[in-house]
């Protein structure tokens, strides 16, 4: 499994945002996306996930290989933590949610309705969902928002295990995660220039 992006251009709201992005991430590696606000990190991740079509260029993985985690984490307030995870596991044909629950330290919160979680607890749940997708390519948009230091540590450990198992990850973040096996890509130089009028 390898993620190879070749000369990709993407648009947001009809306006080209990025042009000529190329990179490759091998199994076991992580790529950190950096760039100032509005650089196009979210746009790039959504394009990689196949949610929006690329203007040009190729992406080597299909929508069937990726797991996306964005600001909105698909958590239903009325369902408990375990039910939320169980649902996503079932959708992805997995069965066992116990490892995901313990990996993100959610055991004590298991039977709490998700609507009653604090911002960081909810985010932990959103990240635990990644583990039940069974997907190899993780696309993460600012995953550590609202997490305290201990949870960031947990999360880094989860990522490291994922990489060690042959997974790979693309992570947009503004803070330093302290991941060892990670390249960094700054998106600022890929800002789309003005082309001809359509």
């Amino acid at each position: 499994m390898e993620l190879r992006v070749n000369n990709l251009s993407c648009a947001r709201g009809g306006v080209p945002v990025l042009a000529g992005v190329s990179f490759a991430v091998a199994a076991g590696q992580a790529l950190i996306l950096r760039g100032p606000n509005g650089a196009g990190k979210t746009t790039l991740l959504r394009t990689l996930a196949g949610l929006q079509p690329a203007l040009a260029g190729e992406v080597s993985v299909g929508a069937d290989d990726v797991a996306l985690a964005t600001h909105a984490d698909g958590v239903k307030a009325a369902l408990t933590v375990a039910e939320n995870l169980g649902f996503w596991a079932a959708v992805h044909g997995q069965r066992d949610i116990a490892p995901a629950i313990s990996a993100m330290n959610l055991t004590a919160l298991q039977s709490r309705p998700a609507g009653q979680l604090s911002a960081g607890q909810r985010r932990r749940l959103g990240l635990a969902r990644l583990l039940v997708t069974g997907r190899k390519v993780w696309l993460l948009d600012e995953p550590t928002v609202s997490l305290d230091a201990a949870s960031v540590g947990l999360f880094v450990q989860v990522i490291t295990t994922h990489l060690a198992n042959g997974g790979l990850a693309v992570i947009a973040t503004h803070i330093d995660l302290g991941l060892t096996a990670a390249q960094t890509l700054d998106l600022a130089p890929f800002k789309a220039r003005l082309g001809a009028l359509p």
């Binding site: 709201g13 009809g14 306006v15 945002v17 003005l194 359509p198």
Partner: protein
């Protein structure tokens, strides 16, 4: 040269700019001739009196209301299949024109109904299905204006137009099933016995031609506006991206 050349916005703008004045003049000519002829130089009908003159507005408007929807359907299909922006914008441009024609047909019909049937409105199948067509136009326009991203709006309204066409046909059938009406059947067909007399018929044909031309003119003008608006929007967006 293939027809699709005109799907290029630039070519479309050039060509339409050249054609438009002629079309507009022709439309005005037909309408003025037809309406003046119809209103002042035809005899009163023996049953309907002078109210028959409403026909010169009513029938062409009613015909064009339906044809405008058909044109939107075709343009939507072209957009979905070949993704030419001009056709999506033409569909968008035609909708308010079609809506207006529908409204004219409804209002002139109501004014005609008052003396003829003694009521402004009756739930006759033809009238009912026109009202439903009016609703379809409203929904289509509302969807266009509710979505900001113009490509997404074009996609969604095209799908709506296709599904809507099927259901509009179904409704027409259902309404017929539901009520047998008062409204006149088709009397323009050439093979029928009870065709309206020639005195009415010829000016009516001129009016119909005028309405067709008017429709084409308006749609062209509005499509040009839409193209310009789209360019403007792109420029603005771009300026913001700096």
């Amino acid at each position: 040269m293939s027809v699709w050349e005109y799907a290029n916005p630039k070519r479309f703008m050039d060509t339409s700019a050249r054609v438009l004045p002629w079309l507009a003049a022709l439309a005005a000519l037909c309408l003025i001739t037809g309406l003046i002829w119809g209103f002042f130089f035809t005899p009163d009908d023996f049953r309907q009196g002078s109210t028959v003159r409403i026909i010169y507005l009513h029938v062409p408007a009613a015909m064009m209301a339906i044809n405008a929807w058909v044109m939107m359907l075709v343009a939507s299909l072209i957009w979905l299949i070949r993704r030419h922006h001009v056709s999506a914008l033409a569909a968008r441009a035609a909708a308010p024109v079609g809506l207006t024609f529908t409204l004219i047909a409804l209002i002139t019909g109501a004014f005609w109904g008052q003396p003829m049937w003694g009521t402004w409105w009756a739930w006759d199948p033809r009238l009912t299905s026109f009202l439903i067509l009016f609703l379809f136009y409203l929904g289509y326009i509302a969807l266009w204006s509710a979505i900001e991203d113009s490509d997404a709006a074009a996609d969604l309204t095209s799908v709506l137009c296709m599904v809507g066409s099927v259901f509009a046909l179904l409704s027409r059938y259902a309404v017929n099933f539901w009520n047998q009406g008062l409204h006149q059947g088709a009397s323009l067909s050439l093979d029928k016995e009870e065709n309206v007399a020639d005195v009415f018929w010829v000016p009516l044909l001129v009016c119909i031609a005028g309405f067709v031309l008017l429709f084409v003119t308006l749609v062209l003008i509005r499509t040009r506006t839409e193209i310009r608006a789209r360019r403007l929007q792109h420029l603005l967006l771009r300026e913001r991206m700096q």
